[in-house]
């Protein structure tokens, strides 16, 4: 992948130029879908964009010292890494990529979560610290399944290149991996029933409680970009291999949209679980998926 292709992917498609409006669109789809399923009207189409602009125009409380600097830095790091993760997705055919870009994508997907944990502790708020502790515990729980599922799919193909995985023919192992990733996505995106770190009524949105104005706008944007990156990862794994670039882009958007609707339905149908129940769920139940995926990957590798 040369420099021009890399910049085009990062800045245009599926990077920032596409990802930022897509982030607002997915945030709107999630809110609207949940509202319709709960018998409410829901927000208008432009609401996430209006929220972003409104927050940008507000003042931020003056903060000094290292904690203040960190609180300004965490949301920016989260936005840039989430945008970078979207830029790595192999949406278009023959889009390049490099050996090991899957590992970079997984690392970039994890950074916003680490930023949230750090932000909650930097804010020195009791609610922020509780939210950060919950996010840390949740992250450790679901990442075992998430990473094992992706790595086992990659190991079966003898590659850590995203483009090779995107062109992988459908197999039971691939579907098992996708199912395991889908189970982890509600926790990664802080959706019900795993919306513990940002519980609004219990801990006032946890790590976000002390953030306001442009900093909060950046957190909202990074959350939207996480939506695009996480659903996009699943969409690239599901999508069939298409040579036409515009058809590939349409299929990618349609599949991502479908995954957003699926996750919204799960969020609307469930209530928030307690932290111990959540951890037990991931460690006891979904670990089965990961073990199955790893064993299948080993079997496929030995057979080939």
């Amino acid at each position: 992948m040369n420099m021009t292709t890399a910049l085009a992917r990062l800045l245009i498609f599926p990077g920032i130029l596409f990802a930022v409006p897509a982030a607002w669109f997915f945030l709107w789809v999630e809110r609207k879908a949940v509202a319709l399923m709960q018998g409410r009207i829901g927000p208008p189409f432009m609401q996430p964009f209006y929220d972003f602009v409104k927050l940008l125009g507000k003042d931020t409380p003056p903060r000094s010292g290292i904690a203040g600097g960190l609180m300004r830095a965490w949301p920016l790091i989260a936005v840039s890494t989430a945008a970078g993760a979207v830029g790595l997705l192999p949406v278009l055919p023959a889009s390049g990529g490099f050996q090991g870009d899957l590992i970079l994508l997984l690392a970039l997907l994890e950074v916003p979560s680490i930023c949230i944990i750090a932000a909650g502790f930097s804010s020195r708020s009791l609610f922020g610290e509780i939210g950060s502790a919950r996010e840390a515990v949740l992250s450790v729980s679901y990442n075992v399944v998430f990473l094992l599922a992706i790595v086992s799919v990659a190991a079966s193909q003898h590659t850590f290149r995203l483009e090779a995985l995107a062109q992988m023919p459908p197999s039971p192992l691939l579907w098992l991996g996708i199912l395991a990733i889908l189970i982890c996505l509600p926790a990664k995106l802080h959706l019900n029933p795993f919306s513990l770190p940002n519980a609004e009524q219990e801990i006032y949105s946890g790590p976000m409680v002390e953030f306001a104005g442009p900093e909060l706008a950046m957190w909202e944007l990074s959350h939207g970009l996480e939506w695009v990156a996480a659903t996009g990862l699943v969409a690239t794994l599901i999508a069939p291999h298409i040579t036409l670039w515009w058809a590939a882009a349409i299929v990618f958007v349609a599949l991502s949209f479908g995954i957003v609707l699926l996750l919204s339905a799960i969020a609307a149908a469930t209530a928030r679980l307690a932290i111990d129940t959540t951890v037990r769920f991931y460690w006891q139940c979904t670990l089965i998926f990961a073990v199955l995926a790893v064993s299948s990957a080993l079997f496929m590798r030995l057979r080939s």
Partner: protein, 146 residues
Amino acid sequence: MNILTMLWKNLWGGSRTLRFPLRPKVTQRYRGLVQFDPELCTGCAICKFRCTSRAITYQAGKGEFTWSYDPGQCTFCGRCVEGCKAHALSQESACPPIYLHSGELKKTYTVARRAPAPKTAPAVPKAAATPASPKLAETPATGGTQ
């Protein structure tokens, strides 16, 4: 699975939220705006003392009294209606109307004080002792001096 059926019905059944200016239906015992009947009021001012939100004000004058009610401050608790022995107060069974300016719904009544009943023998009928109808004057809202 019940929850999925419910979500499916909600998705296609439309929202339950009413858009302005539609209003929700009210129940039979709905506590709406307080209605004042100056014909029945004795000017005891119990309603004013029972009103914790200070929506009702009462000013005693010479030979008359002024009774005011500001729905903007009312919590519709109904304690004034409960305490009115003369049944001069009641509550509407309808949602309060939408208003755009502060004190728009405020109402003020100036009521002539009734002459006290003469302390005569019990044989005298009570209706004969009271005047036929008190002098009434309803003043429109002025924007609310509390």
